[in-house]
Symmetry: C2
Subunit: 416 residues, 2 copies
């Protein structure tokens, strides 16, 4: 074991992960149930720690969006425990056979899922992520090294302690889950270069955090979550559906990455739909910035500029642009999208299929709220994050995305 306390933690996680790789599903599920029960039985203690984080957050003047994501109340904790139980109910990906065949020479090849080893996560002020990632890592046979950020330090310390105790209480190695919050920014930097200790690193948070991790890591990274999400209302869109989807996509939970940031409306639908869309959004507290055509048809809309289209607001703010055609909508999306989620509202079959084929984003939708881009909604249980890269995983990541594979080759003496 290393004398360096940081590396020692990583080594403990790695050694514990090695023991998890060949543990039965039943034993992993026992540990998960222990975690869920511990969350429920220790609600007051968790909320107390969270209150310290919230208080410090308010003192430091962090925004409402961040405060909302930091907050743990009894409902959210029961939701977290339920999410852990949902992971119990999910199939264990480890040992699943992905594909296989018998070669002409009689050799049988089988590709099976195996754990990565140790999963690292760097995120900001979202203590629910601590539980989500620990649960998904455990079920998929991985260790987890978590850097949750100073804004959620008290909450994370209580949660990781509780998770370690719960795992150990069932006879598995609690060391598999580690927090490195106490090592501060330096710890995050070291985690990014911990090749050989950590097999994959998942950043969740602001665009700045993600770009730092992508640029500085030598550990393979899965880029997640930054979402400049578009809803395009086509000429043929149904009025009620357009209003309902746009309002839901923007206002249901504006602080999260699948919330819409930009509304594009076809010119032929602008007169029919834009005044009502704007009225309902403004009525729900949304501040609109629009192009000239939008401002000409709706009062109380600020002037949009290039920054409007290139910003993820995480708040009740939205850019609105009138486009001449679906081509112009596709070009706008191609230029400004972070390739997370885009939706079209349309009654036109050809435009729906064209939008699905040509938009190069992790999730492309027809006639549904962008809020559905979510591991829970997709039926994956708790979610590791939403990958916006193309390598390994794209879109909501669940258990299989936390595994690698290996090939098993069974022969009878074959040579080339």
């Amino acid at each position: 074991m290393s004398n360096d306390p940081f590396l020692a933690k990583l080594e403990r996680a790695r050694a514990a992960a090695k023991t998890l790789a060949n543990v039965t599903t039943l034993r992993k599920n026992d540990a998960l149930e222990a975690i869920a029960s511990a969350i429920e039985s220790r609600v007051p203690e968790i909320i107390e720690a969270n209150a310290l984080d919230l208080e410090r957050g308010r003192e430091n003047g962090i925004g409402d969006g961040l405060l909302d994501r930091l907050r743990l109340d009894e409902d959210r904790l029961r939701g977290l425990a339920a999410a852990v139980r949902e992971v119990i109910s999910l199939p264990d990906p480890v040992g699943q056979i992905v594909r296989g065949s018998t070669l002409a020479n009689g050799i049988a090849i089988t590709q099976v899922r195996v754990p990565f080893g140790v999963v690292g996560a760097i995120y900001e002020a979202r203590p629910n992520v601590t539980v989500d990632i620990a649960a998904l890592a455990l079920k998929s046979g991985n260790g987890a090294v978590l850097r949750g950020g100073s804004a959620a330090e008290h909450s994370n310390r209580v949660l990781v302690g509780l998770i370690q105790e719960a795992i150990s209480s069932t006879g598995l190695e609690g060391d598999a889950v580690q927090t490195i919050d106490e090592f501060g920014r330096e710890g995050a930097s070291r985690l990014m270069r911990a090749r050989g200790y950590v097999d994959v690193l998942i950043p969740r948070g602001s665009a700045g955090l993600i770009s730092t991790v992508v640029n500085e890591s030598t550990v393979p990274v899965i880029e997640t979550g930054s979402g400049i999400v578009h809803v395009y209302v086509d000429a043929s869109a149904d009025e009620e559906m357009a209003v309902s989807i746009v309002k839901n996509a923007k206002t249901h939970r504006p602080s999260v990455c699948n919330a819409a940031e930009t509304l594009l409306v076809h010119r032929d639908a602008a007169e029919r739909l834009l005044p009502r869309l704007a009225r309902e959004l403004i009525g729900a507290g949304v501040e609109l910035s629009g192009d000239e055509a939008t401002r000409a048809s709706v009062a109380g809309v600020a002037a949009a500029d290039d920054e409007t289209w290139a910003t993820e607001h995480h708040a009740l703010e939205m850019g609105v642009r009138v486009v001449d055609s679906i081509d112009e909508a596709l070009a706008h999306i191609e230029r400004y999208s972070t390739r997370h989620t885009e939706a079209i509202v349309t009654e036109d079959y050809a435009n729906a299929e064209r939008f699905l084929a040509e938009v190069d984003s992790a999730v492309v939708m027809v006639n549904a709220s962008t809020r559905f881009t979510d591991g829970g909604e997709f039926g994956f249980g708790a979610e590791v994050g939403i990958s916006t890269q193309k390598l390994h995983a794209r879109g909501p990541m669940g258990l299989p995305e936390l595994t690698s594979t290996k090939w098993l080759v069974r022969g009878a003496g074959q040579i080339r």
Copy 2:
């Protein structure tokens, strides 16, 4: 288009790749057939260019292993054309549905395969890789930016020119395949940082090249090929099978990554098998370095040291060690393996299954030559490389490994 000639090439590849993404399989196959025919009809011209590279290689004193990998003769070119035709016969991964379901609320979600966009490759002195990667990229709807290294510069220039002409002759955009050899080392460095231009980067070559690419790239990397490959001969191994597999794994083509570098023999089989194994290897021209136990039972074996076990020789050299148990074999492999391929030769069921479960390598074999770790042998057609990382792809990579996915979501107005 950029004024910078390097970026202009990347932009041309990207623009051409965008047109390939939605091209039918039939049209891509026509272009592949044109490439295969062009290779066959231009054999003398390719061999002439290759002769210049071989001559310069000999002048620069590069080793026999490298020279062998650099060489193109008529047989190998016919083999390359055949490999391209095998890619024609493979299913097109683009548009394949990976999985999907209908959610409780009626939303249908479908995960489909889509091209990455542009695949970059950095490799050394293997002109066959130029054709392999171009063919696999084309079939999977991707562009390819190739940096094949100065040692194969003449061969690669002729091959890429021929590929571009062949693609264009069928009406697709030949610009989809680009070589950046003319930009030298600076071009390779820039390619590693070409995030936004290149979607994934595949290094193939020496451990030094791979580690440079892994450490310097901001583009996502798939690490390939470095192979310190072990064959473990268990106590119960059949003599004829052990001799045949060890000899084949070491001598069939020693310059490639799936050739064995280290032989581990169980103590209980050493007396029975080691003298004959050593005699046959030495008879085939292999220089052996061994531990004390090996040297005590076989004459003419040099002393092995830590470097012996940690070196990929790419030549007729092999380390030999006698181990006390399968545990010691597993520990040796855990310490020195590059996680490419390891094989056990055994008649013991429990040891076979234990080896398969516990060795953490891309390919783990029982009673077969390590030379079978190969895209062609696995039935993938020509191969992009053998991934030794855990993210995205592990082991031989074929067409599906050159694609990403996206989620298509079809709703009827659902909101959360």
